[in-house]
Subunit: 175 residues, 2 copies
């Protein structure tokens, strides 16, 4: 039983099964409990329910509103990368990144955006000029999910995509 | 001074100026206070900061992250319409609409969506099968803002639109 063995050994399997229940899928409330219990936010505030909902929307490709263990592991890896990233950009260890630092972080993640779009993003995810970890992650989730969605429709890889209305809404309204 | 006179007479001008400060623009925190003080949520929970942020994103066409009085009045009218709508669809007066009722409400607002997209939306904005007023409004804001954005790019009015990546992100990531 190689799969169940490795799952049992996996330290995050414990957090997942503690909240997932019999169906081994977590909804947004369960994901919030799961992430809080895992301590992944460290000294930062726990994730809001809203951020947990968009985390699920990012990975929930069958739109059940729930997340299985493989998606959870994918999320876990992404969260750890974003957390490292956040710590790196919070140079004065104030617990928040400042607006210009979010700007740098987004560019460092490889997104190529116009100054206008970057500016709109930074305004949207900051509070009084400071970006908290929860909002930082919400921003990273949205950027990744929307970019992935766009790329799947950008068949010629030219940075241009065509959408029919229903498809456009499906890929954007749940994030 | 017809404009300042009519503003002074306007009952919501009072709520607006009480929080907007000298620049007469409200950010998300101020909007939350303003809406709470106005009592527009009635017996429902006050709006979350997250919902206030997407309300601003919906109307903030210059991406300053703030809302002036004319946008605020536009929001006020929309909120009142959505509230009436919510009350109508909450037939058992439980304070929430149920999933199938959100489905009906969205269709009644004139959106023509596939069952798959409707289903994804209903899952996203409900908690244990119930949709609270705050999430209902968040859903209405997103549907309206994303549909408006799409329509502005649907030049032939055929339900198909072309986006370049930066523009696509600009219209979706702040909502
Ligand atoms: Ca800092
Ligand atoms: Ca503005
Ligand atoms: Ca009800």
């Amino acid at each position: 039983y190689p799969n169940s063995y490795s799952s049992a050994e996996d330290p995050i399997w414990r957090y997942f099964t503690a909240v997932a229940g019999q169906d081994l899928e977590v909804d947004a409330e369960e994901l919030q409990r799961c992430l809080t219990e895992s301590g992944i936010s460290g000294t930062y505030s726990p994730f809001s329910l809203e951020t947990c909902r968009i985390m699920i929307a990012m990975l929930d490709r069958d739109y059940t509103g729930k997340m299985g263990f493989s998606e959870f592991k994918e999320l876990w890896a992404a969260l750890n990368a974003w957390k490292q990233n956040f710590i790196t950009f919070d140079q004065d260890r104030s617990g928040t990144v400042e607006r210009h630092e979010l700007n740098q972080a987004i560019t460092a993640m490889g997104y190529r955006l116009s100054p206008h779009t970057l500016n709109a993003i930074v305004k949207r995810y900051s509070k009084n000029g400071r970006v908290f970890f929860d909002d930082y992650v919400a921003c990273c989730v949205k950027l990744r999910a929307l970019t992935d969605f766009f790329k799947r429709r950008d068949h010629l890889k030219q940075g241009v995509a065509n959408f029919v209305y229903d498809d456009f809404l499906q890929g954007t309204v749940t994030l």
